[in-house]
């Protein structure tokens, strides 16, 4: 269970959201500039309370406080059992794929680290990339490896910031299905930010609809995004939308 109450501003932008998320998958949906990435960065602990204009923040995961500005608490990003994959995969370019995936599990013994790395690369369908340098990967390959790297430490919360934009054929090779199964088996709660209504509808999760930093709706994807689906349909079939029903 992820709970958060945020009142954060930076420049002219203000994010004011209070929410409780219990479902395995939550899609944060909204147009560019709605505050999706800002929300994910605050949840990950990358933007700090008391810095960058954050006025008030309280974030708790499974009842454990990660951030509580009133109590002066802010766990560092690496202590929150939270993983994040952004649109840009941000792989360490000087390291191999293997070293990238193993970066967050260096506290495990060598054999376990190797097994976990292979398991994660198999999950994202990137076993054949193991000896490649990160800087030589295509956008889609890099995104798969970034996902494997984020999952390797077995986080409790996974934050995905439009990560599927570069993943060609993610659906066709069963990546989404395998990922959902693995996340369920390892009890990882997932929050996916997207501005793509088809992504949001495909996953069929609970949806938070953001506009200009505010939560305007919360509920099942089919309900919250019905108007967005109509708008998308009109855009895809501009002639039909002008014909009488």
């Amino acid at each position: 269970m992820l709970e958060f109450a945020l009142n954060a501003g930076r420049g002219s932008f203000h994010l004011q959201i209070e929410c409780r998320l219990a479902s395995e998958w939550t899609v944060v949906f909204g147009p560019s500039g709605a505050g999706k990435s800002s929300l994910l960065r605050l949840l990950a602990g990358l933007d700090l309370t008391g810095y960058g204009g954050v006025e008030r923040a309280r974030i708790a995961l499974d009842g454990h406080a990660l951030t509580d500005s009133a109590a002066g608490l802010r766990l560092p990003p690496g202590w929150r059992k939270t993983a994040m994959v952004a649109q840009q995969p941000a792989l360490f370019p000087h390291l191999s794929v293997m070293a990238n995936v193993a970066y967050g599990i260096n506290d495990l013994d060598r054999a376990t680290r190797l097994t976990r790395t292979e398991e994660m690369l198999a999950l994202v369908g990137a076993t054949d990339l193991v000896v490649r340098r990160a800087q030589h990967l295509s956008g889609g390959e890099a995104q798969r490896v970034a996902l494997a790297r984020a999952l390797a430490p077995k986080p409790r919360l996974l934050l995905l910031d439009e990560p599927f934009s570069a993943l060609d054929g993610a659906a066709s090779d069963g990546l989404l299905e395998r990922l959902q199964q693995w996340l369920r088996a390892n009890r990882v709660q997932t929050v996916l930010a997207t501005h793509d209504v088809t992504d949001a509808l495909a996953i069929g999760a609970e949806v938070l609809l953001l506009r200009e930093g505010r939560l305007v709706a919360q509920g099942p994807a089919t309900e919250v995004l019905s108007s967005e689906r109509e708008r998308l349909t009109r855009r895809l079939n501009p002639v039909q939308s002008f014909l009488p029903e």
Binding site: L46, P77, W79, M84, A90, L91, R149, P153
Partner: protein, 222 residues
């Protein structure tokens, strides 16, 4: 050729560069990764030797390290001799004087590392030491080389600070730049030419190494 002065100069530059890198790497990382507003003041102090006349810096250090201050007396009783007019005193002066030449290339190099990579490493549990050793130094290794070479060369060529703190003691504080000054003062232009040529050669070779290390095969427009 004053081989003793050449050896002393190279020894001073090597020791100073080693200390400077040990000090400048954590300082540059703090300046790039830290978020406190006070770091602007730290950065200003670290850059001060760039604009301060070397003789002024040398004078302050001479007073600070001498018997007039408690600090100078404390150091003197600890070491058994005053720092002023000693090789150790020269090292202290050189480290302070060349500090910006080590810090600024490292700050520029560390700051050029994609912040997304730093965020990714922090999310994966990297603390400050691992961030620097596994990410910033490997990705900014040209800056590391530039900091080392600039610190070394700046120390080799320093004159004002050396003269104020060290004076001109053969084998202890007489560096090549002091030798060159003495040769010119004695109208020994032949010897001065040779000394100046060594200082010039050292600079050209070291700078060429920096530029060669960053030049892609086939040139920049390839």
């Amino acid at each position: 050729m004053d081989w003793q002065a050449l050896t002393l100069t190279l020894k001073l530059a090597t020791v100073t560069t080693a200390i400077l890198l040990a000090v400048a790497i954590p300082l540059a990382a703090l300046l790039v990764l830290g978020r406190s507003r006070w770091l602007a003041a730290v950065e200003a102090v670290a850059a001060l030797p760039l604009v301060l006349p070397p003789t002024v810096l040398g004078f302050f250090l001479l007073v600070l390290l001498g018997p007039r201050t408690a600090f100078g007396r404390g150091i003197s009783s600890l070491l058994g001799h005053p720092l002023a007019f000693s090789f150790s005193g020269l090292v202290v002066g050189s480290v302070i004087y060349s500090l910006p030449f080590a810090v600024q290339p490292l700050v520029a190099g560390f700051a050029s590392v994609d912040p997304g990579l730093v965020d990714a490493a922090r999310l994966l549990g990297a603390g400050p030491v691992r961030l620097v050793t596994s990410l910033l130094i490997p990705l900014a290794r040209r800056s590391f080389l530039a900091a080392a070479v600039l610190s070394f060369l700046h120390t080799v060529g320093e004159f004002g600070v050396v003269l104020m703190i060290g004076g001109d003691i053969p084998g202890a504080t007489r560096t090549l730049s002091i030798v060159l000054y003495n040769q010119v003062e004695n109208f020994d232009y032949g010897a001065a030419n040779r000394t100046a040529a060594i200082l010039l050669g050292l600079s050209v070779v070291a700078l060429a190494a920096i530029y060669l290390s960053g030049r892609p095969h086939g040139g920049r427009r390839a």
